[in-house]
């Protein structure tokens, strides 16, 4: 699968869980890799690239870390949107 397409799938996966379930990085890698039949390592790489540019972000709450779609406030703070 093309990397960009994979990234879109990852994003969609996170969007579907938004407000319902806190996703750990592991959940996303497992979920997307099973749904799309892509090796976990590839998903992990794509996911990391997305986090590095603020497309997704690590979050923390309830005593544990998770991955989610950044808020506008976060993007603004990082100078990624105005």
């Amino acid at each position: 699968m093309e990397k960009e397409e994979l990234k879109n799938k990852i994003y969609a996966f996170c969007e579907a869980a938004k407000g319902k379930k806190k996703l750990k990085e592991k959940d996303i890698i497992k979920g997307v890799s099973e749904a799309e039949s892509v090796p976990g390592d590839e998903v992990k790489k794509a996911l990391r690239e997305m986090i590095d540019v603020g497309k997704l972000m690590y979050s923390y709450g309830g005593g544990a870390s998770s991955v989610e779609i950044p808020s506008e406030e976060y993007l603004r703070e990082k100078g990624l949107i105005k």
Binding site: K24, I51, M57, S59, A64
Partner: protein, 410 residues
């Protein structure tokens, strides 16, 4: 500074008395810093109402990392705007907490520019903790520190900043290079440290001997405790010198837990086969006694604080491992441990808890460590055991072998 001057009679009382005062430190910082000044007023309010006002950590951090910054907001930020955001930044300390003056000044200069000027040297994790800054300062702080060779420590469901005792840097009892190992592991696992992918936190702490100066056995998921395999070498001339200053029988021989020492007023003897390497005699008579032979460490796992179902001390997993650069065996073992935890742990379950739930056997088999009596205090005392078919086949095969040789092997 045009800061508001707070009236702080309760915490002012903590400037009195001989022990160094944290309130004095906060006031020093408050002289030039709005945030530190509001932190003083905020703390006085806590003292007068007997409660805290910090909210749960928020979602803040630096781009790409999932840890190293702990979000902190006040419920009463309107009253104390300087601490409305008051985030913590964890800076990964150098092994053994060694610094020079230049490094300390560099840390201070950056921090004064962007934060409250307050620190914890060190936080309980081992990190050098920068206490109190605003969200918009986080990226600049990270750029300033990282460009000068300082990185953030761990937080969240990740590898936490490894830490160690002073070891070979200044201690004659160290059985391996705690400083080097800690540096090597920290570098090896940068990804696991900065990007939380675990079920929960994972801590590695390394002590060079059974004195365990970093309390690894009580507060690390992986506790690395230095030890040795050879005899304790005795310098009888030094023993004579100690005899002039102390009662060797009362203070050393009779306190030996294995009763493997004797002293007749002339010569000190140790039955090394019975010694359990507790370190008592060596710490009492450091000039006269030293370990010899193979050096390495015991790996123990699982300690944690009482949340949620009671505290644990680490259990012996690998009775002896040699620890020499590049530490390949240990690094591979750690990865196997994480893989098993990843497979079996639910969110917020520390590895010690998962081992309890899934059973020690599942864990040991997964990481390829055989059962050994050094791992336990005593064998099980209930008969509720699991047998796999393979176990029974193994027992039967042994019996068949015995029938052939005519010799029992229990």
């Amino acid at each position: 500074m045009a800061g508001k001057k707070y009236n702080t009679p309760l915490i002012d009382d903590l400037e009195k008395g001989p022990w160094p005062s944290f309130v004095t430190e906060m006031k020093k910082a408050a002289k030039n810093n709005e945030m530190a000044n509001d932190a003083l007023g905020h703390l006085e309010k806590c003292y007068s109402t007997k409660r805290g006002y910090w909210k749960h950590g928020g979602i803040v951090g630096v781009l790409g990392y999932g840890g190293g910054v702990i979000g902190r907001y006040s419920e009463i930020g309107d009253e104390f705007p300087g601490v409305a955001h008051f985030h913590t930044v964890r800076i990964n300390q150098p092994s053994g907490f060694f610094y020079n003056s230049k490094a300390l000044r560099e840390i201070c200069d950056i921090w004064d520019k962007y934060g409250s000027g307050l620190t914890n040297v060190h936080g309980s994790t081992g990190d050098l903790v920068l206490l109190g800054t605003k969200t918009e300062a986080l990226e600049p702080i990270f750029a300033e520190y990282s460009s000068r060779g300082w990185d953030l420590g761990g937080s969240g469901s990740a590898l936490r900043t490894p830490s160690c005792c002073v070891g070979p840097g200044r201690c004659e009892w160290s059985n391996y290079d705690t400083l080097d190992l800690t540096y090597a592991l920290t570098q090896e696992f940068q990804d696991e440290l900065h990007r939380p992918t675990f079920s929960y936190k994972f801590k590695i702490k390394s002590s060079g001997c059974a004195c365990d100066c970093v309390a690894a056995l009580a507060r690390a998921d992986l506790s690395i405790i230095g030890t040795w395999k050879g005899d304790i070498k005795i310098d009888q001339a030094e023993v004579k010198n100690y005899a002039k200053k102390m009662d060797i029988n009362a203070e050393v021989v009779n306190m030996c837990p294995t009763q493997c020492m004797s002293y007749d007023g002339k010569e000190l003897k140790i039955n090394n086969a019975e010694c359990n390497r507790c370190m008592h005699c060596i710490t009492r008579m450091t000039k006269a006694l030293r370990p010899s032979g193979e050096r390495g460490a015991t790996l123990c796992m699982g300690s944690k604080a009482p949340i949620v179902v009671g505290s644990l001390l680490s259990w012996v997993i690998v009775p002896f491992i040699k620890l020499e650069p590049p530490y390949t065996e240990l690094k591979e073992l750690i990865r196997k441990i994480w893989d098993w935890w990843d497979e079996n742990g639910k969110p917020r379950e520390r590895i010690g808890e998962v081992i309890e739930i899934k059973g020690m056997r599942s864990f040991l088999e997964a990481i390829g460590v055989p059962p050994q009596p050094q791992q336990i205090k005593e064998p099980r005392k209930d008969p509720f055991m699991f047998y796999t078919d393979a176990d029974i086949e193994g027992f039967k095969a042994k019996e068949a072998e015995e029938k052939k040789t005519g010799k029992y092997k229990f």
